[in-house]
């Protein structure tokens, strides 16, 4: 395969054609935050944390959803990108329970995020109660960012079951089951591939939830 030249933060790197900018930039050592993207499920482009500047493009592009091109000049760090990522991180952390997301915690610190400067949460996310409707895993949607990895794992990306569904718009948009049914009636096959890909701890094995409860 003929590798193609790409400049990442001033550094010339050789990338495989078809690779994503995210992949190439990470290999070049750039620390780009990313929440929604998942190789296996194909989820991409929702969280916008991995936006990078690409020379000649009018606005930042999501690195996870952009394919490298020969001669592409990519910049993953700038004041503007930092501000942008900080704002998104702050809004996520303001609206969502991020207590189990260790990556989020480190980014909040790295970006000196101050979620409180936006005032009170506007969505009802944090008020969502855990849903314990099956023998295998618990859904704690107060911790859900809408990255949609679970939806893709359940449907197109891996399992082809489509037990999970999506509802609502704006900040109240949320993952749910088909017809809001209990998982046990939703066609779910409990493969747990949604738990596997969940980056926030919103989906948690029952055994783990029980252990955590014991510890509290």
């Amino acid at each position: 395969m003929n590798l193609i030249p790409v400049v990442v933060n001033g550094l010339l790197v050789w990338a495989e054609p078809g690779a994503t900018v995210l992949n190439v930039a990470q290999k070049a050592g750039a620390g780009i935050p990313t929440l929604c993207h998942h190789e296996r499920t194909g989820t991409k482009g929702h969280c916008r944390l991995c936006l990078v500047e690409i020379a000649g493009r009018p606005r930042p592009e999501p690195a996870c959803a952009t394919t490298v091109e020969s001669g592409m000049v990519v910049n993953t760090e700038s004041e503007e990108l930092t501000d942008l990522r900080r704002t998104v991180l702050e809004l996520v952390a303001l609206e969502t329970n991020v207590e189990h997301d260790v990556k989020m915690a480190s980014w909040l610190e790295e970006y000196r995020a101050d979620p409180g400067r936006w005032g009170d949460p506007l969505s009802g996310r944090r008020e969502r109660e855990p849903i314990r409707d099956n023998a295998f895993f618990v859904r704690e949607y107060d911790k859900c960012y809408n990255c949609r990895r679970c939806l893709d794992a359940c449907g197109e990306g891996i399992q082809g079951v489509w037990a999970l569904s999506f509802t609502g718009r704006v900040a109240e948009a949320a993952v749910t089951t088909v017809f809001d049914l209990p998982l046990t009636e939703s066609g779910c096959v409990f493969c747990g591939n949604c738990v596997q890909v969940c980056p926030t701890g919103a989906l948690v094995p029952l055994e783990e939830a029980l252990l955590a409860e014991e510890a509290r």
């Binding site: 023998a135 082809g160 096959v189 747990g192 948690v204 955590a212």
Partner: protein
């Protein structure tokens, strides 16, 4: 730990899922010596995916029914009493030696386990052949894919998947028959579904509306037990219309004339009348399969567990050979193996007719080689199959003693009453297992074994991938790894029988056992060792240290004596027991998503909460005819016994067919099944028995309807 965990683990251990033959790689998260989370690894074979059993079904490891101390029943009718390992092993080997002295070594039978490691299977067959001096060894593949093994071995010279899981996205056409893949091999099932979404043409041949049938481009709902006619007719039609791969047949196959003679009457119209599938659909399937750049065939028990199981598989083999759908990526013949290490158990020679590496016991040269290796003269008398062995108990020249490793014949053999009677007649029974099972009460010695999570070793998955396992926990109580028990038993039995050199039973661990076996089957395993497995993904054949293993088999030759694929007639014969007036329905048995085989593992885990009780699938038309109401108790009755179950009225089952899962020992489907066998593979005919249905409470049923 970069994961959003609610609980930080004490440790995370990488190993292989113990359930099915996909061989998913998993990371087990441990806290307070319990597994609380199972994560799939991102690489092959499962690429980040798991099913409910691997993800949430490992609770059996911590179940109170785990066997924790050796037990001995000192005399028949007595109690099982705790014993030391030394007492138990002495008692066991002395009784085996005594019976061998009295009745000859062929009065002993050794049942190996497709749940145990390669190393352990190797030792079990070595125990039989080297220490006891008999080829009487077998494992549960007898009950699952022996028909595949028979047909594939004689035609192609290798009985494994010819292609690999990672090739699923490369297939243009995928033919799945006799496999409820989304429930029995869920990770592969999901991959096939995804391939179909991405444009592969999916043909499903199955009497039941299985999960894949619902997403298939073409579903051939044939009558149970008519497969060879369907596949024979497809092949005949392709030849007749010149759609086969003439060049491939000319260059790489033989036996065409005899085969062609055998399908002369299998016209599409004839096939329609026998199978019930419209001729146009059979034609469409044939054309699609033959025209595909790469067409892969997947099958499982729906093909093999018939009295013509070998012919079923042979018909698939013939079809693939005639269309050249072999020896290229994305094509091939792919039996989906059930148990996690059923491929390995066969590879290791836990079979009555072959040594490790499928070297035939019939060959004097082969026998001599193993005699030299083990320092033990090798018997000439061929071994008998497990099913034959159980049938022979109590008969002249029959089996007197059985050593079971991880096998529960009461639930797994057909015609349960018959099996119970046989076990009662047995002189001596060793049960070596991790959990109490249904056969346990018949044991004279119970040897508590370590589970997959408590030992080292290797499993070989359905696509020939050899994978390392490693201990997660210490074994409970006195339980020991099977390899340790077998090596001890081998050493002791050797001393008693004088058959083999006791020194050949000294092993420092599973890696030493592996090294012994790979030296003796270099063409398959020469390049694979435990150290390499810790670093690399390897599959057999892997003849050298530099080989990554071969993915696509048969690219230039078949592994037969001539190097050519052998076409063979696959004549159909009707199932042994036809439905009639008293027993008007056909019973088919199999598995469901949430359970595993005899239920010993899955019913001792969270899985039982999702699927707590026996449900039989009844077609709505039959339900109406026999006054069966959905969700109500029903009796399923055959000439051999009856069971109670909950009726699930659904068109998943075709009219005239009742489907019963096999996982519920207390209402075992094998009370109903028939002990008739395929004459070639000796597989029981689990997929066909005549039954009738009765509502448990006819008055209530009448009121409901």
């Amino acid at each position: 730990m970069n994961r959003p965990l609610h609980v930080q683990p004490d440790r995370v251990v990488s190993t292989v899922c113990p359930y099915c033959g996909v061989g998913c790689r998993v990371d087990l998260y441990i806290k307070n010596e319990k597994i609380y989370r199972v994560m799939a690894q991102e690489g092959p074979p499962n690429y980040g995916a798991l099913c409910v059993k691997g993800r949430f079904g490992l609770g059996f490891l911590h179940h109170p029914d785990r066997l924790t101390a050796p037990l001995i029943r000192r005399e028949k009718g007595g109690e099982l009493e705790p014993a030391t390992w030394d007492e138990a092993l002495s008692f066991a080997t002395e009784r085996l030696a005594q019976i061998a002295r009295e009745h000859g070594p062929d009065a002993l039978y050794f049942v190996s386990s497709a749940k145990a490691s390669n190393e352990e299977n190797y030792l079990m067959q070595k125990l039989a052949r080297a220490a006891a001096g008999t080829h009487n060894v077998d494992h549960c593949a007898r009950l699952c894919h022996s028909s595949s093994t028979a047909a594939l071995s004689r035609s192609l010279g290798s009985a494994a998947m010819s292609n690999t899981i990672e090739e699923i996205p490369l297939s243009d056409v995928i033919l799945v028959t006799g496999s409820n893949t989304v429930e029995t091999h869920p990770v592969i099932g999901a991959m096939i579904k995804k391939a179909a979404r991405n444009g592969a043409y999916l043909i499903v041949v199955d009497p039941r509306r299985v999960g894949l049938a619902e997403v298939a481009d073409l579903w051939l709902r044939l009558r149970p037990g008519t497969d060879p006619v369907l596949f024979g007719a497809m092949a005949r039609y392709l030849i007749e219309t010149g759609r086969h791969d003439r060049r491939f047949v000319n260059r790489r196959a033989e036996g065409f004339d005899a085969w062609w003679e055998s399908v002369k009457e299998y016209t599409l119209e004839h096939a329609e009348s026998v199978t019930g599938v419209p001729a146009a659909k059979i034609r469409e399937a044939a054309e699609r399969y033959a025209a595909a750049g790469a067409a892969a065939t997947y099958w499982a028990m729906g093909m093999t567990q018939h009295n013509h199981g070998t012919e079923n598989v042979q018909a698939l083999v013939n079809l693939a050979v005639l269309t050249g759908q072999l020896g290229k990526p994305g094509a091939g013949l792919n039996p989906l193996r059930g148990q996690n290490n059923v491929q390995g158990a066969g590879d290791m020679g836990a079979l009555p007719n072959v040594y490790p590496g499928y070297q035939p016991t019939a060959s004097a040269e082969v026998r001599q080689r193993w005699a030299d290796t083990w320092g033990a003269p090798q018997p000439e008398t061929p071994g008998v199959t497990m099913t034959q062995a159980f049938e022979s108990i109590g008969r002249p020249g029959g089996i007197h003693a059985v050593y079971l490793m991880g096998e529960d014949p009461i639930t797994s053999e057909p015609y349960q009453e018959h099996v119970r009677a046989a076990l009662e007649k047995l002189d001596f029974l060793i049960v070596q297992d991790i959990l109490k099972n249904e056969t346990f009460p018949y044991a004279d010695v119970v040897l508590p074994a370590a589970s997959f999570a408590e030992k080292h070793g290797t499993f070989t998955n359905t696509d020939r991938r050899v994978q390392l396992i490693q201990p997660v926990f210490d074994p409970p109580g006195e339980a020991r790894p099977d390899w340790w028990i077998l090596a001890e038993a081998g050493r002791r039995l050797s001393l008693l029988t004088g058959q083999s050199n006791p020194d050949t039973w000294e092993y420092s661990g599973p890696d030493a056992i592996w090294d012994e076996l790979r030296r003796n089957i270099p063409e398959m395993f020469g390049g694979i060792d435990h150290a390499r497995l810790a670093r690399e993904d390897l599959r057999w054949p892997c003849p050298s240290k530099t080989s990554p293993g071969v993915s696509v088999l048969f690219t230039d030759r078949f592994y037969t004596d001539t190097g050519r694929a052998k076409l063979m007639p696959a004549p159909w014969r009707p199932p042994a027991e036809q439905p009639g007036d008293d027993y008007p329905l056909v019973l088919s048995t199999g598995r469901v998503l949430y359970h595993w085989h005899g239920g010993v593992l899955s019913r001792r885990s969270a899985l039982s909460k999702a699927y707590p009780e026996m449900k039989v699938e009844v077609n709505p038309a039959d339900a109406e005819r026999y006054h069966i109401a959905d969700g109500k108790p029903v009796m399923v009755i055959s000439r051999r016994g009856s069971i109670q179950a909950t009726a699930w009225v659904t068109d998943r089952a075709p009219e005239g067919v009742v489907f019963a899962p096999i996982h519920f020992a207390e209402q075992s489907a094998n009370r109903l099944t028939k002990n008739t066998y395929d004459p070639t593979s000796k597989i029981p005919e689990y997929k066909f028995a005549a039954v009738r249905l009765e509502p448990l409470d006819p008055a209530e049923a009448a009121a409901e309807i």
